[in-house]
Subunit: 235 residues, 2 copies
DNA sequence: CTTGACACTGAACATTTGTTCTGTTATTAT
DNA sequence: ATAATAACAGAACAAATGTTCAGTGTCAAG
């Protein structure tokens, strides 16, 4: 006679909740005895009895004869919890911290970080979903700058916006690049076209006219823009 | 004489990479012997020796006399991995999928999703780092629209940009809102100010003049802009 | 050439840990 | 009242596991 109806008993739920809590605090799973200690189950065989049932119901995976060989698949609410094994795979793949290395202002060459990021401070990164970034780009080639001043308006970029750059000093047609113009002492963000021996720098604002540079050598490409982020707050 | 310079040796890196791989495949850490088996280290005391160094350099935490008591803090590339132990808790809190519910074009009222999101398709969401969104906003009040056409240029928003909106039909001074203007059959994005009985709609582009609406009743607020994202690709 | 520190070895040992076994108790259906 | 099953208990045991120890080998500095 089946007393146990399908579903989780209070004891099951208690064990699952303990698993989640322990994992999040320790970074590794608890032992059978630790589970028993924290769920008022005095016997390791009862813990084993319940873990076997949780495995049958696909809340966990177990590995035989392996200490702490428990992999949490679902929470007690049955929710879509990322489990520990996919979180390693997915976290660094889904959310990246792009280092915010300084400001971009019109009257100065913009900062370009050195390749070793020795100055890197994780607290000053900009968090960006990987899915918003170009698929093939290496994360270590990316950095962020905050725009300072109204000088990038023709690039449709506001004071305070964040631009995510990819390191490059070679532009291809149609790419938006950061360019230092030697003759104007000016950094600008424009779409780059090399045409008939001269450079056309096309503003993002389609109502504005391009800059034509007859001597491509005065164009100094400092990076390529891959993403613009504008957080709107009121003044 | 210090032969080991600061930083990771090839053996350290091999161990860290193995830790990441093992964790992602199993959901629990490897034992000392498993690490040795997969990194061609024949002696458990050498594995222990290297793990102690990785702990000193804050790549891992260890728990004494606990089997598989290793918590991975950083990957071999250093720094870009969120703390693994908080990742179980925090992934869904750090990266959110904001539903992309349609397009915003000037000549139509913009789509505003119903409150229950019953149509919601996770594959069509825009991934956004939580840290880029206003701290107090409820995620279920947010949705994204893709801009279609050049009509939002005065808002410094390009064709193809994504705007993340918060549901509201009341604007406060200084907020950027999406407004349907009945008399013009037009949606516009502007900073909103209610002044002396009339509404001033201020473009984001500071070189452009505001729209003054004497009759506030024709202003229909459809949502508030919280974030603009522009993915740059070449044409 | 000597010295000292780092890297490494293999074994021993103690502890941790999971599984199994032999039961008892509680609960429900007949 | 009885039977069957689930839930539980404690102990034993073997295996897994981490730490320690007494060494050896390598290499750069002095």
């Amino acid at each position: 006679m089946a007393r146990r109806r399908e579903g989780l008993s209070p004891r099951h739920k208690k064990i699952l909740t303990f698993l989640e809590t322990f994992l999040s605090e320790h970074g590794y799973p608890p032992s059978i005895r630790e589970i028993g200690d924290h769920t008022q189950i005095s016997s390791t065989s009862v813990v084993n009895y319940y873990l076997n049932q949780l495995e049958e119901m696909n809340y966990i995976e177990r590995e035989s004869n392996v200490s702490r060989g428990i992999n949490l698949l679902k929470t007690s609410s049955g929710g879509l919890l990322q489990n520990l094994k996919t979180s390693v795979n997915n976290l660094s793949e889904q959310l990246v911290s792009v280092p915010l290395v300084g400001n971009i202002v019109a009257g100065e060459p913009m900062p370009v970080p050195a390749s070793d990021f020795s100055y890197y401070d994780p607290d000053s990164g900009i968090d960006v979903a990987r899915s918003l970034l170009p698929a093939g780009d290496r994360l270590e080639d990316l950095y962020a700058l905050r725009v300072h001043g109204d000088s990038m308006i023709d690039a449709m970029v506001n004071d305070g916006d964040i631009v995510v750059m990819k390191k490059t000093n070679q532009a291809h047609n149609g790419e938006m690049v950061a360019i230092w113009l030697n003759d104007r002492d000016e950094t600008t963000l424009k779409y780059f076209y090399l045409e008939n021996g001269h450079v056309r720098l096309q503003p993002a604002n389609p109502t504005m006219k391009p800059i034509i540079i007859n001597d491509p050598s005065i164009v100094e490409v400092q990076g390529k823009v891959v993403l613009v982020i504008r957080q709107i707050s009121h003044d």
